[in-house]
């Protein structure tokens, strides 16, 4: 019998912000209302990634629907003057397309604070530490458990000095020597997490990513960005600090490569191949290996 399967693949980052007043900047009481969608709300590192929503709906009663969803929705307030933010967050991580199924839904509160080391003259930061604190109730529909989760994530963003040591900075120099062919950039997150319920364990966490941009000068010419052809390596490691858990703590490693087409200054379409291996106990992902081919659409409202 012929089975027709419709696959919908959507990934998006969507941000909307509205100000409580006309002057957004340099006002002591400037508050912004912020609505954001992304992959996971744990830290600045995962927040900047696009949400993934894949639904597969077979037109056949014998095959059930399947999902790959990694998305959060946060509604909150940001104070530009104090660098504090607070928000309510809902999150879904569901993957029925893999051997060990994953389905976690989370609801909680997010607090954010940016510690800025500023230049006295200009007021601009030389160095920043964005901190994200999350307090969530997490329901695992596969294991049928509910547990409290606490996460603390931080990055060390150096804005000045040697490009190699600066986060989210392409090096070597654009349009000179090796920089014409390849450029690299990196980003990281260091954090702690607490898993409640039956686990009662504190975990140390380290996330790291390296991006490789192929032919950045050509990419810049064509789409005004350097990531037309990009390869990304991501490492996410966890270890028990206090307490013991039976959950898989294997490091999550992923390689991602793809083509990024930018239609205007903000909106883009990406075709990405991802290879994943490892586990994520915070998202109910058990240790396994899987691959995916994703279309990412980035829409800014």
């Amino acid at each position: 019998m012929k089975v027709r399967i419709n696959i919908l693949v959507i990934s998006l980052i969507c941000t909307f912000s509205a100000s409580s007043q006309n002057t957004l900047f340099h006002s002591n009481d400037s508050l912004r209302i912020n609505l954001s969608i992304g992959k996971a709300s744990d830290n600045q590192f995962t927040k900047s990634e696009g949400a993934e929503i894949i639904g597969t709906f077979p037109e056949n009663d014998s095959i059930s629907n399947s999902w790959l969803t990694n998305a959060y929705l946060e509604f909150g307030m940001v104070s530009d003057s104090t660098h504090w933010s607070i928000g309510l967050v809902g999150e879904i991580h569901r993957n029925t397309l893999v051997e060990k199924k994953q389905h976690v839904e989370q609801l909680g509160v997010k607090l954010g604070k940016i510690i800025a080391f500023k230049d006295k003259k200009t007021g601009a930061s030389n160095f920043e530490i964005p901190i994200t604190i999350g307090l969530k109730q997490s329901k695992d529909f596969v294991k049928n458990t509910t547990a409290f989760q606490g996460t603390l994530g931080m990055s060390f963003n150096k804005f000045k000095g040697t490009p190699l040591l600066k986060t989210q900075t392409a090096f070597p120099k654009f349009n000179s020597g090796f920089g014409r062919i390849l450029q690299f950039s990196h980003n990281h997150n260091i954090g702690l997490s607490y898993l409640g319920g039956n686990e009662n364990v504190y975990l140390g966490q380290f996330d790291f990513e390296i991006n490789t941009y192929f032919l950045p000068t050509l990419s810049d010419k064509l789409i005004n960005k350097k990531d037309l052809f990009k390869l990304q390596f991501k490492y996410s490691g966890r270890t028990e600090l206090f307490g013991k858990t039976d959950l898989d703590l294997n490091s999550l490693i992923s390689f991602q490569t793809g083509v990024n087409l930018t239609f205007n200054k903000k909106n883009s379409l990406e075709l990405v191949y991802v290879w994943n291996q490892g586990a994520n106990p915070l998202k109910g992902l058990e240790n396994q290996k899987y691959e995916s081919l994703i279309v990412k659409v980035k829409v800014f409202l």
Binding site: F25, I114, K160, Q168
Partner: protein, 142 residues
Amino acid sequence: MKIEFNIDKRDVKILIKALEFAASKSNNQSSVNSLQNIIQEIKEDLNNGIKVSNKLKSELKGYTDGSLILANTKFRTQLGLSNAFIKSDNGLIRIMNYILKLLVKMYKPQAKPDFIKKSEIDEAKTFKDLVNLIINNYEGSN
């Protein structure tokens, strides 16, 4: 009346020379005065542009990878600026508003700076766009 048009530095110098020539040939004193006012305005705009450009280059120095900054340099991809610095509320926008504030303080001490917003920087592509953004917001400061 406010007339706006885009013109590069070299052509501005030619325009000033042409207006000075026209003023020197005119016998009508009110026309001479008008032309001299126009020349003065253009010179001020030119000087402000050069001042802002130089100041912005100097303030960005430590944040870039030392690449040469030209008017058409794309600041997101060609200067080695951290993407986090460009997006931060305390990054590029602070430096631009600092220069704007200096300019307003110096030439329009009574005016309130029309501060640059992040959304305006999102639209900018080249170094020249950033300079124009500071100048436009300076002109809009009252």
